[in-house]
Amino acid sequence: MSALTIIGEVLVLLGTFFYFLSALGLIRMPDVYNRMQTSTKSATLGSLGVLVGVGIWALGTDYGSIAWLTKTIVIAVFLLLTNPISAHALIRAAYKSGIPLWEGSVVDKYKEHLEAEAKTEEGGEE
């Protein structure tokens, strides 16, 4: 059992822990926006941990080669780039289709911005 194996195992464990937190957040949070916040962030981090961990873990074993790490890092970078974009698109679509914020929310700057924009447009037409 080499050091690389141990590092890989620890990373995979960390990743699965963050997966668990992400699923927990999905149940515990009150509205769509909070749920997205908790689930996407920790799922991305968990995936990174698991992927890179598997790559390093394989390096420590006798059948592992550097190809494992290369592939997992490519997948990890792809996930790192795409996950936030998809989360952004989902959240934005949710807001645009009028899903309300949690009743405990205190401030909605985007709504104010939209209203101000609508007002200036009206003013421009007059």
Binding site: F78, L81, T82, I85, H88, A89, R92, K96
Partner: protein, 236 residues
């Protein structure tokens, strides 16, 4: 309503039980291969492919793949015929947000590259022409979703699609001329190209060539279907 639903559930349960009884006679995890063993034993010598699935799909049972490609072509043509309008335009109103458009611009070449990787390496890794082509079409779908004005270059796409289909048949016909039957693997059997190279990119007989053709065909076809479906008629 309730009676209807109950009847449907009872019928489904009966059918499910019937299927389960039938399947319970099939032993799982036992060696039951009759022809399958032949494929596994001979796939490397006869086709040069390491991926037995693509070897079976393209080489041993190439005719089925030609049929599948035809089915996709007919589906694409059918969608085109059903949604035919004299004058049509994209009528999407909201552009994707700046994050989405920038991300799409960044990711599009990578998705295309990965799609090409899948269909070029059909004889070595899982995948092949159909997943690769679908990935390429996904890249175009991404462009359609992120931009309101994007359109695929129709003329070029339709010509490419037709040429790719003809390329597949041409490869088969060359096999007919050289080896005596349709879809004969002339690159492997006659030229012996890449015989000492099994497991590397330049091997696998005509599987990489056919899968590149299929990948291009499927990619352009599915993009065309997407294009047909997102457009709406505009009155003149």
């Amino acid at each position: 309503m309730v009676v209807k639903r109950a009847l449907a559930i009872i019928t489904l349960l009966v059918i499910g039980y019937w299927l389960a009884v039938g399947l319970s006679q099939v032993p799982f995890g036992e060696d039951k291969m009759l022809i399958g063993q032949y494929y596994l034993d001979n796939v490397k010598d006869q086709t040069g492919a390491v991926n037995a699935v693509t070897a079976v799909v393209v080489n041993y049972r190439g005719f089925d793949t030609l049929g599948e490609v035809t089915v996709l072509f007919i589906a694409s043509t059918g969608v085109g015929a059903l949604l035919w309008k004299r004058k049509k335009k994209r009528t999407a109103k909201t552009e994707g947000s700046i994050v989405l458009t920038t991300g799409t611009r960044l990711l599009f070449p990578f998705v295309m590259l990965f799609g090409a990787y899948i269909f070029i390496h059909g004889h070595l890794t899982p995948g092949g022409g159909f997943p690769g082509g679908a990935t390429v079409a996904t890249a175009f779908l991404l462009l359609y979703l992120a931009y309101i004005a994007y359109e695929i270059p129709h003329r070029g796409f339709e010509v490419t699609e037709g040429l790719a289909g003809m390329g597949y048949v041409t490869v088969g016909l060359i096999g007919l001329a050289i080896g005596g039957y349709f879809l004969f693997d002339w690159i492997w059997q006659t030229w012996q190209f890449g015989t000492d190279n099994i497991g590397r990119l330049l091997s696998g007989g005509f599987i990489p060539i056919i899968y590149t053709i299929i990948g291009i065909k499927v990619g352009t076809e599915l993009s065309g279907i997407i294009d047909n479906m997102v457009k709406e008629e505009v009155s003149e």
